[in-house]
Symmetry: C4
Subunit: 311 residues, 4 copies
Amino acid sequence: MSIRSRHLAKDDLGFDSRTERNRKRSINADGSFNIKRKNNFWTEFHVYQWVITCKWSTYWYTVLSIYVGANFLFASLYYLIGPEYIVGIEGEGIMAYWQCFFFSLQSFTTVGYGGLHPKGMLCNVLAGYEAFLGLMTFALATGSLYGRFSRPEARIKYSPNALISPFKEGKALMFMLCNNKKGTLVEASAKVNFSWVEKDENGNDTRRFAILDLEIDRISMLALSWTLVHHITENSVLYDFTPEDYIKKDVEIYILVSAYDDTFGQTVHSRSSYIGSEIISNAKFRRPFFTDANGNTVMDVLSLGDYDLLP
Amino acid sequence: MSIRSRHLAKDDLGFDSRTERNRKRSINADGSFNIKRKNNFWTEFHVYQWVITCKWSTYWYTVLSIYVGANFLFASLYYLIGPEYIVGIEGEGIMAYWQCFFFSLQSFTTVGYGGLHPKGMLCNVLAGYEAFLGLMTFALATGSLYGRFSRPEARIKYSPNALISPFKEGKALMFMLCNNKKGTLVEASAKVNFSWVEKDENGNDTRRFAILDLEIDRISMLALSWTLVHHITENSVLYDFTPEDYIKKDVEIYILVSAYDDTFGQTVHSRSSYIGSEIISNAKFRRPFFTDANGNTVMDVLSLGDYDLLP
Amino acid sequence: MSIRSRHLAKDDLGFDSRTERNRKRSINADGSFNIKRKNNFWTEFHVYQWVITCKWSTYWYTVLSIYVGANFLFASLYYLIGPEYIVGIEGEGIMAYWQCFFFSLQSFTTVGYGGLHPKGMLCNVLAGYEAFLGLMTFALATGSLYGRFSRPEARIKYSPNALISPFKEGKALMFMLCNNKKGTLVEASAKVNFSWVEKDENGNDTRRFAILDLEIDRISMLALSWTLVHHITENSVLYDFTPEDYIKKDVEIYILVSAYDDTFGQTVHSRSSYIGSEIISNAKFRRPFFTDANGNTVMDVLSLGDYDLLP
Amino acid sequence: MSIRSRHLAKDDLGFDSRTERNRKRSINADGSFNIKRKNNFWTEFHVYQWVITCKWSTYWYTVLSIYVGANFLFASLYYLIGPEYIVGIEGEGIMAYWQCFFFSLQSFTTVGYGGLHPKGMLCNVLAGYEAFLGLMTFALATGSLYGRFSRPEARIKYSPNALISPFKEGKALMFMLCNNKKGTLVEASAKVNFSWVEKDENGNDTRRFAILDLEIDRISMLALSWTLVHHITENSVLYDFTPEDYIKKDVEIYILVSAYDDTFGQTVHSRSSYIGSEIISNAKFRRPFFTDANGNTVMDVLSLGDYDLLP
């Protein structure tokens, strides 16, 4: 009992044991948290965070809107100053307004053809200010575009299922992962937490947490696949779990993997989780790599997670 | 005694035990150091540090001043060379000078409408040099703008108070924190130091320091709130403190939290502190998250730190 | 036996013990993995990873193709709108088309001479959009160019051979490394793994893995050369290896070095490996540095790895 | 003896014990290595490393040379194509050549006034290529300018001397450091190595190395000064050193400090060293901070390292 309790790590995942029995998983399979937040909008909102992580369509829509909006603003200012201060404008009214808009486009992007160009103090100063503002605005637009483009991410592929497989004299919980893209991951490490619901002394459902010790929790190079193995010994919290318990006790397994990525030149993190229905009892993973006729080792990413049910 | 002294960590916070009894806190609630520095101005000053951390108004004022100043400088040079070397300039004297200024604006920003353009060796070379300098100057302006925009920061929200709450058979010092913005923090860790003033063997006030051991000092995912708990056992330096002592002994609790931020792709640090008057005895935090009708866990950031006084 | 097995670290290199006897080395001498991957093309492909690591010729070819391609696209659009909407175009047909192309070049790069400039709504809007797109496209091109230029890399030079040299009363496996470029490496650390093939209980070839303990596995400053020494004691897996075994048992030694690089301001990683035929028995490295007449220590990088065979 | 030898850390500084008695220090006071390197020029040279670390005058000279050189190259090409293909060029021969040069300046910087603008296939294509190349070249120039500007560096100020001061019942080697600029350093840690020359068993001079254990080797916040203290106990290698030995035995103390810098958002490293003549026996540092009349703690960076000789 005392040994097993060593595994009990209440709170240490950042989820609280007091959480009610919750049918929705806490971590989605893609690694995002499944938690709603209630906060003051402007405190919660972080411009950079939003710009870097929003959808591409939202990003382009926002950037283009700011671009067009800024130009309409400056077009209006030029029009107020008077279209006659922009050399090359012909016509009047809406015609002149549009040419103010075109002049603004050409100033904001610093393309400055010169077919239209400013004269007079006010118009020149405004054009100089617009070019300045254009350069600063495009710095944010192009910086965040490149930031999105070069954002570090660990594209780890996890086996769709965790298996209970034979291991040594007993059995073990196993799942696999590999790098899902070209490029080199080194110094990979993994932490696995386990949570389930059980009755506390008062007969109420309580969510409990435990760290699952791994046979190997750190590898030097993630060149092939990596099978993470939790040996289910007498000291494991899984020792008394029947196959049905994984669903009945609302089990969730949380995985946190970090590795140094040569491409980004920094450490990247990846998260995933398995819920009870994704745990298969008495099965064994197939080996996802082989040596081909030329003596090359071939890693077959597509077959990662294929398994055979044992009799 | 020997066990308790294990907690005494003189100097290890970077503040010296010899510091006089100082009524002003050493670390402000926002994490900045409350320490004045005396140093040679140019040694102390670090341009990049200043540009990245100064107020937005100061930043814009500085950037615009450099922009305007550089253009007046170049305008004067063009005027010295002779306005007649800029094709398109009409008028003389101050009129011509302003047009030199406008030409400079158009060169510095590389907008180059062409309504004004250089002729002659000197004017052309100067314009070519100005365009070069403009590109280099804007690199610093736009780079630092984006640097400010994308600067990593941990927006951790701390409970406004630390509480002395019942814990196990005894009591504990507790405070809470959570992520105050959208985005994901993982691998969070915390260190807590405690300082107070007491009489030394000569009867002089001495500031003493101790590390406060935490029940959990590292969590894998900061998805909800995190309650930091220092159990006040016989071995704790807090064991003999009465509620009044927290104020009388000029207590300050220093907190250093670090976590990996998915948005910035790097580890961020956050600091805070509590002084004696912010420590509430015999109270208990309310739970700042709940499960809603749809089975979603909801983290209520606004209620973080709400507590009930115990009878 | 029990002590020696402490060194056995099955799987912990990320290569599996089940790998068949494979005549090709797993890690090339330049540190890249010698492993083929089978994966869905678009999953495997990561644009940023590719852009940062592809060959320079491929990079320039790609960037120029996109530049030229985008301009042909816009040229065609301008031509469709009608060359008469670009002021300054003379001639017709293919002549006019080329001038549309030139106008597009001048808009996309924001050079905008103005010899050609747009008139009319459609042409002006398209030109404004092209300038916007040009700025965004060049952000990716210039960002990735600078990303390639400033990409952190550890240019560690490894001795071409590992030696079995006399050491203390016995012998040791030794190899050397040094910084192969100017600049400062500090806080260097090394991990060495060893793999070989032997018969398992069923008489099948199995690849086995072991960590090789080093006398010193971490140095504060990599100023001169660093000799990595694995003392071959009774507890070492190398204890029973004869010189012939290194080739016969298909040995591969994997080296992972990391160090903090002052230039890049971050930790860099380097990998290399030795195969059996690169291990020389009974030899001793020459010392690759000396003190010159002026009392300066001189590191002779070129002579790193020179050795003498012992009698 | 066995306890003291625990401190002997041959090689672990990256300098070899076989180094001859070398009158020049290995690490300069500014932290750079005092070691010459012999290597193939192009292997040794790393463009980015050079561009980021070269002197400002060298940097500007190089960038301007490339700018001017590229423009002369393109000017020559335009001249070869024929000055008549650039609209706006007047005159012939050297006059025309210079105008080709000016046109090149205006294309390379994308300022494109248009007073000069290309006509004809060849000239237009070349101008389009030059604008492209200009944008890419300026990306490297502006990127490296900003890289130099924002390069992380720890501006740690070390006391000019290390002292042998009274400590507890005995004495200790002490030196001080503090942050030499505005901005916040947290999680600072220090490693101190010691080297000296003594006769080996054959009577030859050998350089020996030892790690000096510190009373505190890690502090949470470097807000004030930090006094690094090596207690000279019986187990210390310094135990038998007389004041004269520090010079006679050619002592060098190596210091490596790292800390997390809030401004740069990353860990920075600093190195320094003391040689024998910089070690003062029987002295005591003055305290470099005080509490002013308003209760503020004031850190006096300028007085850091001031000391009093003891009687």
